[in-house]
Amino acid sequence: MSRDGNVYPLNAQESDNEIAIKPKKDLFTRGVFAFGAVFFLFCLYQLNIDYSNLLAGTVDFITMLGEMFPPDVSEWKYVIPAAIESLQVAILGTVIAVVISLVLAFLAAENLAPNNLVASIVKGFATLMRVIPTIIWALIFIVAVGLGPLPGVLAIAVHSLGMLIKVFAQSVEEMDDGKIEALRASGANWIQIIAQGVIPTVVTALLSWTILRLEIDIGESTILGLVGAGGIGWELTRAMRSYDFNAAFFIAMVIFVMIFSVEMLSNRLKLKV
């Protein structure tokens, strides 16, 4: 029964006689670049920075570094618990953000959202949370719930949520739609498709985003102390304001060791994922 000959004739007649159309130049992109260049020159002129300060400042900075030495470790009893508090604030905030974003990201991903309106609403909501910096969120929450670690946790959770919804949804959107289609075709419902199909497929991406976010949040939680949202940042501000540079140096070292060790740990973890 099998047939000889090519059942897929090549259509030679249609390919070569089209007129080549020169692509239009993208005026928008060019305009943005031109404006950017002009605006940069304007900034240089307008800000009128006195660059001689740079030299004097460097000398002052080196002198100050000299004064900072040796670090004053006498207040470790306050500094270490404050560092741990920063770590706790970061972990708590990140975990809250991860849990909430795991629900919202699936509503924001266009290949899973019930409809496009829901996806755009959730994405808009995520953008709003993301564009407001953590430290501004902290100031807002300090007004709402008072000083201490709580506004720090909330600020980190809200800002991280904005980013995690976006990146989680993107990871889900990059997934091969055929896999989702296959589960739909078997009669599975939305929750089953996510739990049995989507999460196993994107789990490595979710984990590496989570680890990256935790790294950023540990950095941010140290800053939050500056505005009174608890942790080691508060100790650093206090030491600097009372010109206790030796104590400040010790605190800075603790922050460095903390962030650095978290980074080492997460690099090891990323290799495993």
């Binding site: 047939r3 004739p9 075709a185 419902n189 049995q196 196993p200 497929t201």
Partner: protein, 256 residues
Amino acid sequence: MNPILQVENLKKVYSDGTVALNNINFEVHPGEFIVVIGPSGAGKSTLLRCINRLVEPTSGDVVFKGKKINKIGARQVKQVRREIGMVFQNFNLIDRLSVVNNVLHGRLGYTGTIKGALGLFSKKDIAEAEEILERVGLSKQKYKRADELSGGQMQRVGISRALAQRPRLILADEPIASLDPASSKIIMDHIFTICKEDKITAIVNLHQVDVAMKYATRIIGIKSGEVIFDGQPSHLTKNIIDEIYSNAKQPLVNAQ
């Protein structure tokens, strides 16, 4: 015998104006092994997806076991889908899960939301999934991750997943297009013999005419969204094949 599936005046126009299907009519009787042939872009995939409503038809009816499934709600669609297994060109397995877990996905429609989501399938379902894997010769691979398998093995898992649904109808969308000739033969043999043994009706999209001639009890030829041949393989002449595949790359009809 009543037809298991009737497709009446089926039309699908995508939102960009492409007419993928136009006035499609055919009936499928239980036990038939129908092969749909046609060039890429002819509307074969859209046709299969309109049958289990992965794609919403624009107009016309799809009647499965006497029920108009283009008129029913989302919950009922899921119930109808349970009875229609689907096999895909790209297998569409969940790579990081085990082979047996992928087969058990065929049972999700019969399992509660929470149990299904957590992967807590009944002992009976698991035993049955293992039985199916034995049938397609993959019992040794059942605990392997799906992405450790070869293409032909993956497609056998895809078939097993469809079988786990205990379907009345199997839709196979280019099941051998991503496979080498040897695996292709194994896959087509499995689909054919299993459908025969289990009295499952099948609609298979293919673009290899010789493969279609070998297995089909009936061939439907589609070109630019319209049926231009529907009959026994012996009636498919060279002229008709040439007609189906001529000007294959012409754009589809535009709505405007």
